[in-house]
């Protein structure tokens, strides 16, 4: 018998939690971005596990589209990081505070 669904869901939960923690505590915008990718991958893992468990190809199709959207998101996000770095010469999120009071 194959691995139970719940093991994959617990692993995906752990990965999502680690990614969310990283977004909250890391200061380098590039590392925060990597943690967002980690969260996306945790969701992908859960989707594929559910697709296998429910015997429905819809979950795997969703993962396919998530991969495409993630690629587009990374391209635009890194473009924004480059544009910010040109202006501020810093990749630390805390130093981008001129909107604050």
């Amino acid at each position: 018998m194959s691995i139970p669904l719940s093991w994959f869901i617990i692993l995906a939960t752990l990965l999502f939690g680690i990614g969310a923690f990283g977004v909250l505590v890391r200061r380098n915008v590039l590392v925060m971005f990597m943690c967002v990718e980690l969260m996306l991958n945790a969701a992908n893992l859960a989707l594929v596990a559910f697709a296998r468990s429910l015997n429905d190809v819809g979950g795997e199709t969703t993962v396919f589209f998530v991969l495409v959207v993630a690629a587009a998101e990374v391209v635009v996000g890194l473009g924004i990081v480059v544009a910010i770095f040109r202006r501020r010469h810093s990749a630390v999120a805390d130093e981008l505070s001129e909107m604050g009071g």
């Binding site: 018998m1 680690i18 594929v48 819809g58 990374v74 635009v76």
Partner: protein, 194 residues
Amino acid sequence: MTSLLATVAIPDLLVFLLGALLCLVGAVSILTVKNPVHAALSLVMTLFGIAVLFIELQADFLAAVQIIVYAGAIVVLFLFVIMFLGVDREEDLAVEPIVGQRPLAAVLITALMASIVALGLVGHFEVGPATQTGMLHGGAGNVADLGRSVFTTYLFAFEATAGLLIIAVVGAVVLARRNNPDDHVAESQVEELA
């Protein structure tokens, strides 16, 4: 626990444990390493672990795409930007910009994960009709299932992603373009606004 272990085949268990270990070690080291380049390499480790788990779930095509798109393209893009900007130096992890930020984040994330696990324990995943988009066969038939689904049910979404990728590429070029030196007027206006 022993009864659970008895129901799982040993090769499946080994592949799952290997994939899970790769994922978790990579994910934790993204959090703990100081150098962004090392974080990107840890991300490759996690993505590879996810691909191993996809193979364990018989999603062969997605495992290959995971390696090619994520580990191949996205992480290389990350490394390119890190080295292009020259931020590949050590970061002081001891700095805590908001007092109590880390314990608070840990509490919040633990509550989040506990609520997900609790939902899984009390909920019962009963869905309506078994499938809207088609059955999923194991092994090599899997790619055919995925292809049939993408090019029939989700054809419009598939075409829309083509547009999305074009828009993303054009947007990235516009964002990352170096400003024209003759373009003083626009630059000074932005400076005034800033």
